[in-house]
């Protein structure tokens, strides 16, 4: 498409693949250019200045050039200020990266999603309560992909959501006052209202919103399994 040079672009590494004995292909998520694969020449050499820097979950500033599908990484700078992810938070970080890698098309900018990703990583890095940031990230991801959630009204009747009523959340559509027994995603009205307000103080909201998001994401991924979730579950079972 464009053979232009990009400079000083805020970005995160999503994943690294060895490309040759000495080079890497780096899948990055950049603020203004979305997901871009970059060839990092020589980055696998022992004395490469980039070697330690091209690390997931750390804010970087990257420069690249090239017109093909894979651009050439020209410059990488470590912005810092974010503690390294540790423990279980690392696995959650991989979950975020896998969603971005599997759901975003290449070179589609999603500035709002970039910000939500940054905030989610920061919450994970600080190791505190991360549910609000994770849910906000998932919500923004779906919205940016055109699958925005309806959280304020019954999509059949148009009536406002009532906190004490149970709703079935229909994929692709939204909440309807619960009727059938075969509905999979059932949440109470308060959960929907809390999600709209990004308020995850209520334990029930945390549990229900997490399950609802899992179902929505699985639906929009078209049955593609999430490796990070599988590994996470297997580790929990040990």
């Amino acid at each position: 498409m464009s053979n232009k040079r990009v400079d000083g672009q805020p970005a995160f590494v999503l994943h690294l693949h060895p490309y040759s004995e000495t080079s890497l292909v780096v899948d990055v998520f950049s603020r203004d250019h979305g997901r871009v694969p970059l060839l990092a020449r020589g980055a696998r050499r022992p004395r490469s200045a980039m070697r330690g820097m091209l690390m997931a979950f750390q804010p970087l500033e990257l420069g690249w050039f090239g017109g093909g599908e894979v651009k050439t990484l020209a410059k990488a700078e470590w912005l810092g200020g974010m503690p390294l992810l540790a423990g279980r938070c690392l696995l959650l970080g991989y979950y975020l990266n896998e969603l971005l890698m599997k759901m975003l098309a290449r070179e589609d900018a999603h500035v709002a999603l970039y910000d939500a990703y940054f905030e989610a990583l920061r919450a994970l890095a600080l190791g505190g309560a991360d549910a609000p940031e994770l849910r906000r990230f998932e919500k923004t991801l779906l919205k940016e992909l055109g699958y925005g959630l309806t959280l304020d009204a019954d999509v059949e009747t148009g009536e406002l959501i009532e906190p004490d009523v149970e709703y079935a959340y229909l994929m692709e559509r939204g909440p309807v006052r619960k009727v059938g027994a075969g509905d999979t995603a059932v949440v109470c009205g308060k959960t929907l209202l809390d999600m709209a307000a990004d308020d995850y103080g209520d334990p029930r909201t945390r549990v229900e919103s997490k399950l609802l998001m899992r179902q929505l994401i699985a639906h929009h991924m078209g049955g593609k399994p999430l490796q990070s979730r599988r590994v996470f579950m297997e580790l929990q079972e040990l």
């Binding site: 820097m53 696995l91 991989y94 979950y95 599988r230 580790l235």
Partner: protein, 199 residues
């Protein structure tokens, strides 16, 4: 035509090496056949022998010809310490320090969720059985300080701890003789974060 197809077969086979594309596979094949037939023969025999005789040591999981490798059988090593490394090459690095005389366990990889490598692929159960032999007292986690190495160390520490073992992690910081001026920001930042009391 038979000759052509075995050439194609060789080129295709060479592509299983990491980072070797069709172009370099072709170059390697022509080099072996045209310029270094003796080398090619050695390579073929070496591969054949390695495949036939090498398997994983029943104790440390490193490559070994015997069921249990020499290192694991050595009486000069301290069997109460078990150091976990990702790859055989990491074991070599540890050995070069001459600072460790315990035994090893080689994972042959690291947790890498995005590549589909989890505890099953790494046979964690095998490691747990090894570490729980009743002789091992301390497990030293020497996986890399990458995100994957850290994730591996974290889960192994939890799981080994739960099995009653003392677990430690090699330290991270500036290299010996390292000067702040020439160190990368990430290393200095982490060294600062993991600073120790000076007593």
């Amino acid at each position: 035509m038979a000759g052509v197809s075995s050439l194609d077969e060789l080129i295709e086979a060479l592509r299983c090496l990491p980072g070797v594309g069709p172009k370099s596979a072709q170059r390697m094949a022509y080099h072996l056949l045209q310029r270094d037939r003796r080398g090619a023969e050695r390579l073929a025999k070496g591969l054949d022998a390695a495949l036939q005789h090498l398997h994983h040591c029943a104790r440390c999981n490193n490559f070994s010809e015997a069921e249990v490798c020499d290192q694991c059988l050595s009486t000069r090593r301290d069997p109460t310490q078990l150091c976990i490394v990702e790859m055989p090459i990491d074991l070599n690095s540890m050995e070069q320090t001459h600072a460790y005389s315990g035994l090893y366990y080689v994972l042959m990889g690291r947790l890498s969720p995005l590549d589909g490598i989890g505890p099953k692929e790494l046979a964690f159960e095998r490691l747990f059985n090894r570490a729980a032999d009743g002789v091992v007292k301390e497990v030293i986690l020497a996986t890399n300080f990458t995100n994957e190495g850290e994730a591996t160390a974290h889960y192994l520490s939890e799981l080994l701890h739960a099995r009653g073992l003392k677990v430690s992690r090699i330290a991270r910081g500036l290299p010996v003789g390292g000067e702040l001026e020439y160190s990368d920001a990430a290393t200095v930042a982490q060294a600062l974060l993991e600073r120790r009391d000076y007593s």
